[in-house]
Subunit: 186 residues, 2 copies
Amino acid sequence: MSAEERRESVVRAALIEFARGGYHGTSTEAIARRVGVSQPYLFRLFPGKQAIFAAAAERCVEETWRVFDEASAGLSGEEAADAMSAAYMSLVEDRDQLMMQMQLYVSVFAARAAGEEEVGETARRLWENLFDRVRIRIGGDMKGATQFFAYGMLINTMVALGYPPDHRMWSGFDGCEEPEEPEESE
Amino acid sequence: MSAEERRESVVRAALIEFARGGYHGTSTEAIARRVGVSQPYLFRLFPGKQAIFAAAAERCVEETWRVFDEASAGLSGEEAADAMSAAYMSLVEDRDQLMMQMQLYVSVFAARAAGEEEVGETARRLWENLFDRVRIRIGGDMKGATQFFAYGMLINTMVALGYPPDHRMWSGFDGCEEPEEPEESE
DNA sequence: CTTGATAGTGATTGGCCACTAACTTGGAAG
DNA sequence: CTTCCAAGTTAGTGGCCAATCACTATCAAG
């Protein structure tokens, strides 16, 4: 297998492992095992653990846009927004994709707290890119895009906590009806 | 200083450190240094690192509710929602509070991925508790509460990425006007 | 057959870190 | 003054983990 192909499979494996363990909670050993390769070989393909994480994070964002793009191809405005919402909802099945996003966010914060502000700049560029592409697809206004991403982030959170799809906590999304009486004592 | 008082200061220090480094990225040494105490003494006050993290996480959720409760005391409906939104926005200044939340979410996911589903159950109880108290305060409907939390999660994300308060990416929130032309080429 | 490049492994190491054990200090009660 | 307990420390240990080094295997070109 060529080095380039190996790198590709490393990125895929790393995305899964980092999504579950976070940067510090994931050993290069675990990634290597998932790839089916020895641990030292990772350091031939990438300069270090950080580089593997960065590659996985970038892949994660790219992939998210790919899902949105495919789902909303040829559409615009409300229709595009609905299509992308549905697509994101379907990503709930692929928890690792969603969790890698959150790992990216917290890792960026950690890097910034440690004084590495360039990491923050790179990450913001990536994020704004995704945000603006979605925004343009749904018609261009900030309010709509902001709302779209807001619900997306809540979905991420609820997936992290492990709410099953039929749980009452999902009932406040889009077209769901109210399942219970709002009158309760505190 | 009594053991109980020490425990209190450990929880405060741990919240800050864990917020920045995550569970695995934070050493007990760092927490002890912030408290101003030797590292082994932490293990007299708590059974282990996990317990310190759990205490910090619980504190974080409690504190969040305290902020909401204070801000919206005596109010209800729209007024309560607006007051709590403003309060949460002001929490942006206290990044550690917000980031500890995200760390809690990703840690819960990690625990669940490792097979410890009880952690997930506990966390969901905590979260639902907060959610429902907010929901009742703003009038009881799921849709409103869901929207409230959705924007909250987006705020967390943008704080993690380090967007300054006057950045254009904040312009899609509440009463902000559109600052630029939406017509752009992709 | 040899030469060289590319893919890959095994053994190791130095550093960090959670946690333990054994010791010290200070103050209040009798 | 002594006794005792609670608060706190110093020194250590075993385990994990990123990264390095030296080595092997395969294959294609000359």
